[in-house]
Amino acid sequence: MMTQILTVLAFLLMALGVWGLMSRRHLIRIIIGFSLLDTGVHLLLVAFGYRSGGTAPILSDGIGVSGLVSGAVDPIPSALVLTAIVIGLAVTALMLSFAVRMYARTRSIYIDKNKELKW
């Protein structure tokens, strides 16, 4: 149930992100749409790593190795999401900097005014 809800939430967030990316004309909002899409994917990964009633995969005094094996969530998706988040930031930063340069050139923040290259 938990997984399912999170997956659907992730799905909706991705759909919203894609919709924002495709329907908004403002560059900043497009990038926001992108980060929503990213967040959705991250949620999806975390959901996939979840096990019912799972705990954090951290060894502490209360939980021994056997407790980890029987009760901890999958650490791999966490690791993947961590990487993905950082990469997402990198992409967002670059996109924003490009958006600034686009604005500096065309003096318009709207995406459909920024299409000199075509065909």
């Binding site: 991705m14 894609v18 990316l21 495709m22 329907s23 560059l27 497009i30 992108f34 899409l37 990213d38 994917v41 999806l44 990964l45 996939f48 791999i76 998706p77 993947l80 990487t83 993905a84 990469i87 990198a90 992409v91 670059l94 996109m95 490009f98 958006a99 340069r101 686009m102 050139r105 065309t106 995406i111 459909d112 920024n114 299409k115 000199e116 290259l117 075509k118 065909w119």
Partner: protein, 1089 residues
């Protein structure tokens, strides 16, 4: 061996430390960077050498744990080879980028360059799905960072689009990875592959893989969802363009290679899916590129198309097509071939600093003044087009063969069509680059306007007065970096070509051709004058031809060797008349002759095809040398390569149906296919080369606009290649097509209509070389007609006509060459009255036209007699009548030719022209003597021809002395000669006896009521000589074919325009397209709605 992981660590470490290194100074730092890259290249090359053939892979697990636990890196021989090429290209790229005139790369740019390279290494080596994602992002982000180095401000817009697209692709990939991990529980590609048939066959697994593969495909920039990539190519620094298509794309392809086994294992739906994607990605951009005005954008389209082809090639083995050799050989060779060639073109764009594609606008500064750059550009374009001797050729051959063998006829069509489109736009660029500075590249209007346009004629006279080729504006010098990198890439391509040649097993003839060309190219480099080169070529070719033919039995092949080599050697003498140097001329002629000889020696379809392509190439470069040949050579290249592609299709279909196809070797009719379509395609291919009606529009302009000596060679020698191929493929053409109509009957009609149409068009030309070119077309039509008879007499006729045509067309073209050299014009109405100034040329032309028109007693009549006898014998009456009619037409244009040049009133400014140089006259008179000899003794020629034909057909004529007797009639050439001499001498003596006193009068002393009503220039009745004929035929003479092909090209343009409009430039549209792409793949995977 060095561990693969060290390469990653080293490139990354160097990238991190580069700011420190730069403290040593910018120059020193780049030098060190180059050294590091060289070390990388050494490492990867070392891997290649030790891994190739060993079958093992170099594996490195990270973190001290084995594969599923940790990330594994692996290098196979294929990977190592690809990495070597990528590293070498990166090295060349870095030289180019750090040593160019403007915008030299330094600091962070070099750092990002190394990061990009690292990303590519990682993509190739990693065997972990999520790690692929990381390296994809590394490559992507470093590219985005580097994009900002372009001077073009639009690059940010393009980069933004790129980021949106690649962001979506990453998301798809990540979702796919998530699903795959959820289903399989591992990220190691080996594990996933093993588990795929079970764990991923579920709907969830397939959908996950769908996301994964869509992500990868989008990263490969597939049409029709690739407008963002194209925009980026256009706006980016060409150096980045080179990196993108040579380094980044090459590495990305490996991701697909890794994932493909998973996909194929999980569901049968993925192979067709990727196949469709590859086909679309290949064909669509080729069409879109047609009308590009920006060279970089055009290259972008070409790049994505080539990657599409590679994708196609990757999937084909998975579809169950057997390949010789390594399974990945074809895509790998295509990929690396593309990488090197495309990088070269981008660097040339950078070095020359202009971004015009040759379409629309004007492409400035010709490359003629820069032979080295020209050679490099030509190599790159030819390699990209998949022409021999470059590696792509062999890959394309195997690919097409594989497609046919697998029954993928639709894909075959896609590949061939796409290749043809590529020929058009890349060829156009090359030609526009190579053209003479004076050439405005419009197709010469073949009817001269009524105002007697003189300007063009003046330009021609400039050419005739010996202007050297070096007149091309040698603009700014090429930067050092570009020189080094282009040199490196060219070396790489050359090395790969030689390796591919040696590995192909059929490389010997190619090698001989290449050595021939290279030897004379060296002479050019050594600045040996043309005359000396010609002498060397004459000696060499004669020796070679004699040694090739002597002792051999007279067969079709040896006969044609004699024809090709002999014809060329005699005509090479004419080059002695040209002082100075002409770079490449002799080399190309020798190459053409050798490739023609290779055609005769071919014993397998592949060898035939290689020789055919080489002949096409060498002759193309000969044609393009002409001063106004740009437009003509675009046509020449397009049609010639269309012909080659048709031949390729024919061969592949025939081989697919019968693997033993064409392996007989050495016998007439070797290429016997039982597949009607293959036969039709082969016939079409040959007909294009023979300029058959409807397919001829390339022929007149190419023959006419080439240099004068080349025109004669092309028309007399080269054109016979098609005839040879007809004979080689004879076995295919007799097959019934439909409703009892055999292919050869169709060929016959095409032949005779060509003969008639060629003659008709020759009638109305004002340009002497166009007249002769159309005449060649007409004569080739006769040969096709005679061949199509498929009878003894028919084939003897075809060969007889071929020999005869070689002789007289050589004479006529050379005579014209001499005249053009002296008068400086090709327009007939600007000549006139030259008989008194150039009597020897007159004699040559006179004998030539008598031989063409078939007026007894000269040899031409023999051909006519044989032809009509053969035709009537076979019951082809209407064809016979039409052939006779068109020979009357021939008489018309030939008279016009001799009249307009030599007779009538001479122009005052031609009063001082002198006879053509001896070197030009000598070959004409050699031919003349041969013509007289075979006229007197026709059995000298006909009997050997009979021996050639005998293996195929029993003789149907008999000889009584000099009389040849057929079932219908007879002809005694010897007696005719004597009778003619008799009836000629008698009146002559009579005239001499009774004429009384003869006064020679001055020019213009004509009976005009003692007046001279016209100016000297207009007294000569020559312009629009057969105007009444034109009037009589009216609209029938309209250039229908020209119009048809203009229509075709306009349609292609419209299609291109429509497809182009798809790439609207709006990032959101591009995103929409990518989503649509996802949706379509979903639909395909679901099997439609």
């Amino acid at each position: 061996m060095v561990s693969p992981v060290v390469l990653i660590a080293a490139s990354l470490g160097f990238a991190f430390l580069y700011p420190l290194v730069e403290r040593l100074g910018e120059r020193a730092a780049t030098r060190i960077a180059l050294l590091v890259l060289a070390a990388f290249a050494g490492t990867t090359a070392g891997w290649t050498v030790s891994l190739i053939g060993s079958g093992v892979a170099l594996t490195a697990d990270t973190a001290g744990f084995v594969a599923p636990l940790s990330i594994q890196l692996q290098v196979t021989a294929v990977d190592a080879l690809a990495m070597t090429v990528v590293t070498l290209l990166a090295l060349a790229a870095l030289v180019q980028l750090t040593e160019r005139a403007t915008d030299r790369w330094h600091g962070k740019q070099v750092v990002l360059f190394f990061v990009l390279l690292l990303g590519s290494y990682g993509l190739i080596m990693t065997r972990d799905l999520f790690n692929v994602f990381v390296f994809m992002e590394i490559s992507g982000i470093s590219v985005f960072g580097l994009l900002s180095t372009s001077r073009d401000g639009r690059v940010f817009e393009a980069g933004f689009k790129y980021m949106v697209a690649s962001g979506l692709a990453s998301v798809f990939f990540l979702i796919g990875t998530a699903f795959v991990y959820r289903s399989v529980g591992s990220l190691s590609i080996a594990d996933i592959t093993a588990a795929a048939p079970v764990a991923l066959a579920s709907p969830v697994g397939v959908m996950g893989l769908l996301f994964l593969v869509t992500g990868i495909l989008i990263e490969l920039k597939p049409a029709p969802a690739n407008g963002w990539a194209i925009d980026t190519y256009q706006a980016a620094d060409p150096g980045i363009g080179a990196l993108l298509s040579a380094v980044n794309a090459t590495a990305m392809v490996f991701v697909l290679v890794r994932v493909m086994p998973i996909l194929a294992g999980a569901s049968p739906v993925f192979v067709p899916l990727v196949l469709i994607a590859g086909a679309g990605a290949f064909l669509i951009p080729q069409a879109q590129a047609l009308l590009q005005e920006s060279f970089k954008r055009m290259l972008g389209y070409s790049s994505v198309a080539q990657i599409g082809l590679v994708v196609l090639a990757i999937v084909i083995p998975a579809a169950g097509v057997p390949f010789a050799g390594v399974a990945l050989a074809v895509p790998l060779v295509l990929l690396l071939n593309h990488a090197v060639a495309k990088a070269t073109l981008f660097w040339i764009a950078d070095a020359t600093g202009d971004d015009a594609s040759g379409f629309g606008g004007s492409l400035p500064a010709s490359l003629r003044g820069r032979p080295a750059l020209l050679v490099v550009a030509a190599i790159a374009v030819l390699a990209l087009l998949g022409l021999p001797p470059f590696p792509g050729f062999w890959a394309k051959w195997s690919l097409v063969m594989g497609l046919a063998a697998g029954g993928h006829i639709g894909l075959l069509v896609v590949v061939l069509l796409g290749s043809l489109l590529e020929v058009v736009y890349l060829g156009r660029w090359l030609i526009m680059r190579m053209r003479h500075v004076d050439d405005d590249a419009t197709v010469v209007s073949q009817r001269i306007p009524a105002d007697f346009a003189e300007s063009r004629a003046d330009a021609v006279s400039g050419a005739a007065s010996g202007a050297s080729d070096a007149s091309g504006a040698a603009a700014g010098a090429i930067p050092v970096g570009a020189t080094v990198s282009l040199g490196l890439a060219t070396l790489l391509m050359a090395g790969a070509s030689v390796a591919a040649l040696l590995g192909s097993g059929v490389g010997m003839p190619v090698l001989i051709v290449l050595i021939g060309v290279a030897a004379f190219a060296v002479l050019d480099v050594l600045r040996i004058p043309l005359r000396l080169q010609a002498i060397v070529a004459i000696a060499g070719l004669s020796w070679w031809g004699v040694s090739a033919v002597s002792g051999a039995a007279l067969t079709l092949q040896s006969g044609f060797v004699l024809l090709f080599v002999g014809g060329a050697v005699v005509q090479l003498v004419a080059l002695l008349a040209r002082p100075g140097r002409r770079a490449g001329l002799v080399a190309l002629i020798v190459g053409m002759v050798l490739s023609l000889a290779a055609l005769t020696a071919a014993t397998s379809p592949l060898e035939v095809f290689v020789a055919w392509e080489l002949m096409t190439l060498t002759s193309f470069f000969l044609v393009v040398r002409g001063r106004f040949a740009a437009a003509a050579s675009v046509r020449y290249l397009t049609f010639s390569l269309a012909s080659a592609l048709l031949m390729l299709a024919a061969f592949s279909l025939a081989t697919a149906a019968n693997p033993a196809f064409g392996t007989g070797g050495g016998v007439i009719g070797t290429l016997t296919t039982s597949v009607p379509w293959a036969a039709v395609l082969l016939a079409l291919s040959v007909l294009i080369k023979l300029g058959a009606i409807g397919l001829h529009i390339w022929l007149p302009s190419s023959y006419a606009e080439a240099e004068d000596e080349v025109s004669s060679l092309a028309s007399s020698v080269l054109s016979k290649a098609g005839i040879l191929l007809l004979f080689l493929g004879a076995g295919s053409f007799a097959a019934p097509l439909f409703a009892g109509v055999a292919l050869n009957q169709v060929l016959g009609w095409i032949g005779v209509i060509t003969a008639l149409a060629g003659g008709m068009m020759a009638l109305f030309q004002e340009d002497i070389k166009y007249t002769l070119a159309y005449s060649s077309m007409s004569q080739l039509g006769y040969m096709v007609l005679a061949f199509a008879l498929m009878s003894h007499l028919g084939w003897v006729t075809a060969l007889y006509l071929a020999v005869n045509h070689l002789l007289f067309k050589g004479m006529l073209f050379l005579a014209v060459a001499g005249i053009v050299m002296r008068t400086g014009t090709r327009l007939m109405y600007q000549m006139g009255g030259l008989i008194k100034r150039m009597p020897f040329s007159f004699v040559s032309v006179l004998v030539g036209i008598i031989a063409v028109s078939g007026v007894p007693p000269l040899a031409g009549f023999g051909g006519k007699w044989l032809l009509y006898t053969a035709l009537i014998e076979q019951g082809w009456y209407l064809q016979a009548a039409l052939a006779l009619f068109s020979s009357g037409i021939a008489f018309l244009y030939l008279f016009r030719l001799i009249h307009s040049m030599f007779l009538g009133q001479r122009k005052t400014h031609h009063d001082t022209v002198t006879e053509a140089p001896a070197a030009v006259l000598i070959p004409q008179f050699v031919f003349l003597v041969i013509i007289i000899a075979i006229s007197m003794f026709p059995n000298l020629l006909i009997k050997p021809l009979q021996t050639i034909v005998e293996p195929a057909f029993a003789s149907s004529v008999r000889w009584e002395g000099y009389t040849v007797i057929s079932s219908l009639g007879y002809w005694n050439g010897n007696a005719v000669m004597y009778v003619v001499i008799g009836v000629f001498l008698a009146p002559l003596l009579w005239l001499l006896a009774v004429k009384g006193r003869t006064y020679r009068v001055e020019q213009f002393n004509i009976v005009f009521a003692a007046e001279r009503p016209h100016t000297p220039q207009s007294t000569h009745y020559a312009y629009n000589f057969y105007g009444h004929y034109q009037k009589a035929f009216g609209r029938l003479l309209d250039p229908w074919v020209e119009r048809f092909w203009s229509g075709v090209s306009a349609t292609a343009g419209t299609v291109s325009q429509t497809l182009r409009a798809w790439n609207t430039g709006n990032p959101q549209t591009y995103a929409l397209q990518i989503l649509l792409y996802l949706f379509l793949t979903y639909l395909v995977a679901r099997g439609g709605l």
